[in-house]
Symmetry: C2
Subunit: 412 residues, 2 copies
């Protein structure tokens, strides 16, 4: 049997074994559900009540009243900024939108088919080059680096989208806010105020959500006292996994597959019969409406009107209604939209490429990740820093008292 | 008060608060110590017995009898290779030593002072470019990618060390094994067989150590079904943290500070009096000799002889002896060398730059990381993949029933 065929068979055996072996009391991989690994002052997700709270503030208030920059300040500095503080912070972010020249050269050197999440995982740490105090990991310097990452990531994402389309990157326009400038760098056109406002609200809604997988990755890397660039790059890698990021892309693909209202009922039936999921419905934490979905739905409708195409919004709305009825009828269960359900067609109506949905998630969530990195490194209660190092139950070969005997290669 | 002064004060308040606040039952950040998060068949660390086991085999057997390539096969394919399988695997690794041209261009574009760990975190995922099946995350393809990462990382590290020193990168020599070829690419000289053997054994000794911080990072990223390049890049970021990697660098700096045997006793006394640590002594898991230290010590001595300077070995030996006596006398406690204690002067005697010690750790550990990524993605018992998503206890502002009221910016 050649090596090429061997591993799959080995692993399918492995797969069975690890489930069956009970001599060594294997631990089920429960993914740490329900285990609180830290105290945090950043975000509260109240699933039963459908409340999402950043630093004490309801997401509804923030989405309506605060810009993304203001929310970044809130997450990083633990309170809303005063007017002059926000102006100062805004100026600081604007200055940091400019990324080093070799970032563009790097992006130009990559195959144009490369996944944008891979690209930004590699390129984000390049921003360390503009960090004069790199190596001095004080709180003050880490705040500087956090701003550098928040500001620079947009430039990188927009530049990559243009470079892969054989267009010249657009340099930042510092008369524009964070959201509007990102859309400008993406399209080379100043967005309408209303559109920029929707995008800004989208960034606010995705900025933070407590200990999800990518945030935990960021904290875990930060817990080794690695610098914030290393932690954010790792978090981007975590978000690139289809079990974490990309859900709104799958919503959009589902909407395209359904395409017409007449196909909704058959699609739902087929999906429920096969035990499948309807993308964008249901959430691990919220047991009622995801507050972000309630905010996104009317924005999605209005964005459709602006774009001259409310088809996807209307299809989403009809799907939501029918899916809720079907779940109630067939599963005697209430189901609710999550954040991805309406963000899909919102971003789509803005003309954004679907494979940029996850990078845009990162563009927003980088603010929450940075707050968590700082909390992990500078604000934990433990008397000394304690990196995350869990255990594992060994269930491998010879987990009894004897080890394997090493055999000469000729005798294997 | 300007924003520049504000955050430090805010955070020092925060620091106190999070420790003091008991209304919301804050969770101490214990870093998941003692919590088994998965079953694993890869590695067993038996701290009491001082045994380190890869896939059933004792580290002593592997260090003496197996090459790093053989250990990589063992970790990835769950058993030692037969002769023809090893030849096949070896040929496959050799083919993958060649990295894309734009990797060198990227390295050349970076400031020469950049930390090598930052560089390899960014550059490792660039190897995805040579991965024809990128995007198809099957087990077979992931094994291909694992080989690609194991083989390519050495080329990247060596190229960076040369580029930052204004030297031309040396292309791989496929007549040499993995260890010898790395030293060749680093120095442009074929290493002596004995030296290459010591380096090879060093790679074997560092290849795997169960769920340490970087391995857990790799598994966590992999648990989202992100591809192996994203996971390995994140693990490198985790290893870059001074609480995780870099301990042997600190051993070497300590040896340089002590410098002479006459300074050992004062150094130990000063350190013990101030409650400090003697680098390279003590381990979180081993309660007896770290088996790797026992293997490294004679290699370190012999390497000193080859290099014509046994000073650091002798100083290490004397420090070990006196520190053990001092711990026994003053703390009534046995203390043992860990893997870093002798690897420091071993690598130093080979003429390797100290800031390459952590990258060399990664060069070795990438094999274990890859095995863990595959176990996480293809061999877990859970009926469906379960990404790591722990909880956190919210102890922030207004963790009672009321949220903060959003105030207009003029009124803050």
């Amino acid at each position: 049997m050649s090596r090429k065929e061997d591993p799959l068979k080995k692993y399918s055996k492995f797969f069975t074994e690890i489930a069956m072996n009970d001599e060594c009391t294997p631990v089920l991989n429960t993914g740490l559900r329900g285990i609180d690994v830290a105290s945090s002052k950043i975000c509260d997700v109240r699933g039963k009540e459908g409340k999402l709270i950043y630093r004490g503030y309801l997401i509804e208030d923030l989405a309506e009243n605060a810009t993304f920059e203001e929310v970044c300040f809130l997450l990083l500095y633990e309170r809303l900024p005063k007017k002059e503080e926000l102006a100062d912070f805004d100026a600081s972010l604007k200055q940091k939108r400019h990324v080093p020249e070799n970032v563009f050269a790097f992006l130009k050197s990559l195959p144009k088919t490369m996944n944008p999440m891979d690209v930004i995982q590699m390129a984000a740490p390049m921003l360390i080059q503009t960090d004069e105090n790199a190596g001095s990991e004080t709180l003050e310097h880490t705040l500087y680096s956090a701003e550098n990452l928040i500001a620079g990531l947009g430039t990188i994402i927009a530049a990559w989208d243009r470079i892969r389309s054989n267009k010249t990157p657009v340099m930042p326009d510092n008369t524009l806010g964070h959201a509007a400038n990102f859309l400008y760098m993406l399209t080379d056109e100043t967005p309408e105020t209303e559109v920029a406002g929707f995008f800004d609200a989208g960034l606010v809604l995705h900025a933070e959500h407590s200990f999800n997988a990518s945030t935990f990755t960021a904290r875990q890397v930060a817990s080794t006292k690695a610098h914030i660039y290393a932690a954010i790059s790792a978090a981007i890698g975590s978000l690139s996994g289809p079990l974490h990021g990309g859900a709104n892309v799958r919503v959009m693909k589902m909407l395209m597959e359904i395409n017409s209202e007449k196909n909704i009922a058959p699609y739902i039936n087929k999906t429920l019969d096969s035990g499948g999921l309807i993308m964008g419905l249901g959430h691990a934490v919220y047991q009622t409406d995801d507050p972000r979905a309630l905010i996104l739905a009317p924005m999605c409708r209005r964005m459709g009107e602006i774009a001259g195409d409310t088809h996807w919004y209307e299809l989403s709305k009809a799907l939501e209604k029918k899916a809720k009825q079907a779940f109630k009828k067939h599963k005697n269960k209430d189901i609710f939209c999550n954040v991805d359900f309406y963000s899909a067609s919102l971003f789509y109506a803005m003309g954004i490429a679907m494979d940029l949905f996850s990078p845009i998630f990162a563009l927003s969530r980088v603010s929450g990740w940075c707050a968590h990195v700082m909390e992990e490194q500078f604000a934990m209660a433990a008397p000394k820093p304690s990196l995350y190092r869990p255990g594992a139950t060994y269930v491998g070969e010879y987990c009894g008292p004897d080890e394997c005997r090493f055999a000469d290669i000729e005798k294997r």
